[in-house]
Point group: C4
Chain length 231, copies 4
C-alpha cells in the first residue's frame, strides 16, 4: 500500500541527513495521500541508517496506525494538525537544524533581508508562540500543530512554507515530502545568513518591499519567468 | 580479557573522531566492567588511526595497569573518580570539542534554551570550578574528577550526563562508552546552538520549566513515549 | 558551436557547487566569445547535476537565444550588461555564497583588512546600490547590471573583479569562466575573514596602503614575482 | 639530493590542504637539512594537486636556488630568516587559515584561555608588528622574517612555535615540516576557540598561570607523563 509515497518519504528522511539538517534521530519527514486520507511518516526514535520502507508507519488523520509495526514519530499529531489545516500541502519536514533552531530558541522571527529569502518565503519567517502549561497537558504535539495554525491565521502557507516554534525548532512543508526538505534547506540557509547579516550591520532594515515582491513573483507569480516552462 | 568491552571502547574512541569531536590526540573514551572493577581506556597520546584492541589499557579502580603495554590516558584518574562516584555509569568520553570547550573556557554554564537541550539534559549543563594550586600539586587529574563530583552534589548524573570543566573542556558519560559518545555529540550541538541563540537575542530566558520537563519526560520519564518499546 | 567555451562554462558551473558557493539552483556562470559576440550561460532553474553541454544556452549581446532548448539564466541580462561595459572580462559567476551574501544583505562594503584581500582585490569590495522601483519595473536584471557598472565608474574591473549587490548577492568576473569562479572563492573567504576580524576587534583599521599596494603589485604589477614565469 | 626531506616537505604541503588550512595556492611548507644548510620549499603559485618531488625547490640560506626548475615560494626569504634565527627548528608552515588570519588581521595576540592552548603554546600567541614602508621597500619578505624574530627577543620559539603577522597571517614551525603542520592545525583551533570564548564571555580572564604551567609541563616538561615513553 502507498508504495510510491513510502519511497518518497523514505528518501526525504534520508535527504534531511544528507543535507546536514538532522543528526542522531532529531527530525522526521512525512507525506500524505489526500485521496485516501493517509499519512506515511518516520517511526519514532529509529536511526536514519536503519530506516526501510517496511519501518515506515501509515496513520490516518485521527492518528490511528493503519499499517506498520513501529510507533510513528512522536511528532505525528503535529503533522496531522498541519495536514488538516493546510489543505494544499503534501509533505512536512521537522528538523532541529542549527540556525533555524537558534532563531526558534531566540524567539525571533526572521525578517526578509535579501533576495534569497524573498525568492522562497513571502514576508517574515513566522514564529509560533509557546504553548501554555494547560495546552501541554492537554496534548503537547497536537497543540504544537494548533499554535502553528493559529500563527497562520493571516498567512498563506503556500507562500510561507515554514515556521519556527518558540523554544523548539522549525517545521517546513511543501507540495510533497521532497519539497518540504528543499524548504528546510532554504530556511536553514536563510536563518544562517540573517544571523550573519545582523552581525555585520545590526541596524539593517528589511529589503524594500518592491524588491522582495519582484523576486517572489519572478519565481512564483502568474508571469514567473524563472526556471523552465512546465509543459 | 574483556574483549567485548575493548571492542566497544575502541569503537567509541574512533567515533569521537568520526563525529568531529576530537582532532590529533585530544580526547579519550573509556568503559567499565562493574563486576570485575576494571576499566578499559585509550592509551595516552596515541593517534586514533593507530589504535587497536591490543593498544588499549586495562586499569583497576586504583589506576593500576592490569593489562596492556602502553601508558593509559593521562586523564585516567579523572575517569576513575567519576566511575567511583557515579555508580550508574558505564562509559565516559572526554573531548576538546569546539563549542563545549568554548563554554568551558568562558566559565559559563549552558542554560536550557530549547527542547533539544531539554530532551537530553535536565537543567543547566553544569560547570566544575577551577582547581586550586594545592589541588593541582596534590594530583591534577584525580582532583579534576573530584571537583566534577563536587559540582554534582545536588545533581543526578543520569539526568545530566555531562559537565564543563572551567578553563578546560567537557566530560560526558552514559550507560556505556557508546552512550557517552552520543552525549558528547549532543552537548557539542547544544553548546553551539546556545551560543548562536544568545547572539540572536542576548535577552532570551530559559525555556519555561513546564516545557523542558515535558520534553525530558516524554523521552526519559516512566511514561516515555518517544522511540520504540524495548521488549 | 563554441564547444570549448561550453565545456569551460559547464565546468565553471559545477565548480561553484564543488567549492560550496551554491546550493540548489542558486547561481550561474557564463563565458563569452568576444569575436563572435556570443555568450554561453547556464539554463534557468536547472539543477547542477542535470547540466550537460546540450543544456547550456547560447545568447547574443541582445539576449537573443542563438542556440539551445532551454531558457537562459534569469540573470542573463545582468551578465550581458557586464560584458558590454567591461570589455576585458571573459567570464562571470553569480552566487548566493554565505558570507558575501551576508555583506550584500548588510549593505556594507568590505574594506581591505589584510594581505589575503590585497593579493586579489584592489581597494574595497564595492557595493552596488538598491534599484529604484522604476528601475525594477523597467527591467530588473538589466538594471542590476547597470547599477554595478555605475558603481565602477571610478573603479577598474580588472583590479577589482567582483561586486556586492545591495540586498542581493555577489557577482565576480575574470579572464574566463574558471577565473570568475576563483574570484568567487576568494571573495567568499575575504568576506568570512572580514566578519571575524571585526568580531575580534571592532576598531580595526584598513591595512596600511603601502602594504596592500605591495601585495597587489607583487602578484599583479609589471614586476610581479609571485608564481612561475609565463613563457 | 635530499630525497627524504623532499618527501617530507611534499607531504607537509599536501597536509595543509587536507586539514583545511589552505585553499588555492595560499600557503607553503618547508624543511631544512641543517648539516648541508639547504632548505626544500614549495614552488611559488603552483597548485597543490600539481606538486611533485621534482617541482620542489632547494635553496641555500642565502636564497640561492641550488636545485629545481621553479621559482621558490615568494615567502622564501621569510622562511630563511626564521631558520637562521631559530636554530632549533627543522620545518616551517605558512597558511592563511581562517581564524589565525582573522586574529592577524585584527592585530590581536591570543591569550591563553584554556588547557588546549596551554598544552601546546606557552603564553600568548604573539603578534609581529606591521612593517614600515621603508622595511617593505628594503625587502618585504626578508623583513617579515626579521619582525617575527624581533617579536621573539624575549620568547622561546620551541615553547611558542608560531606567530601572527599583523595584517597578514600565521607562521608556525616545529622540529620538522610535519611538526610545523601540526602546530598550524593547533593554532587554528586555538584561534577559533578563543574567538568563541570571548563571544560567550567578553570579560573572561586568562587561565590561571598555575594551571597553564601544569598543562604545558605534563606534556613538555622534564617529567612529562603525557604520551608513550620514547625509547
Amino acid at each position: 500500500m502507498l508504495e510510491s509515497l513510502k519511497q518518497e518519504v523514505l528518501q526525504a528522511n534520508l535527504d534531511l541527513v544528507k543535507h546536514g539538517l538532522v543528526i542522531l534521530t532529531w527530525g522526521n519527514a512525512s507525506g500524505i495521500d489526500r485521496e485516501r486520507g493517509l499519512i506515511v511518516i518516520k517511526p519514532s526514535g529509529v536511526k536514519y541508517d536503519e530506516l526501510s520502507l517496511e519501518s515506515l508507519v501509515v496513520v490516518d488523520l485521527e492518528g490511528k496506525i493503519i499499517e506498520g509495526n513501529n510507533r510513528p514519530s512522536s511528532d505525528t499529531q503535529t503533522h496531522i494538525e498541519l495536514y488538516k489545516a493546510f489543505s494544499e500541502i503534501g509533505g512536512i519536514s521537522h528538523t532541529h537544524s542549527k540556525y533555524a533552531t537558534m532563531y526558534s530558541q531566540a524567539c525571533k522571527e526572521i525578517p526578509c533581508l535579501g533576495t534569497t529569502h524573498a525568492d522562497h518565503f513571502s514576508g517574515n519567517i513566522p514564529l509560533a508562540r509557546f504553548l501554555t502549561d494547560i495546552e501541554i497537558e492537554d496534548g503537547y504535539e497536537k497543540n504544537t500543530g494548533k499554535v502553528i495554525v493559529e500563527r497562520f491565521k493571516t498567512l498563506n502557507p503556500k507562500k510561507t512554507p515554514g515556521v519556527l516554534v518558540s523554544g523548539h525548532a522549525p517545521f517546513t512543508w511543501g507540495t510533497n515530502a521532497a519539497d518540504s526538505v528543499i524548504n528546510a534547506i532554504i530556511l536553514e540557509r536563510i536563518a544562517e545568513m540573517a544571523m550573519g547579516t545582523y552581525q555585520i550591520n545590526p541596524e539593517i532594515s528589511e529589503l524594500p518591499r518592491y524588491i522582495s515582491e519582484k523576486h517572489f513573483l519572478r519565481k512564483h507569480g502568474p508571469d514567473a519567468y524563472y526556471g523552465q516552462k512546465k509543459l
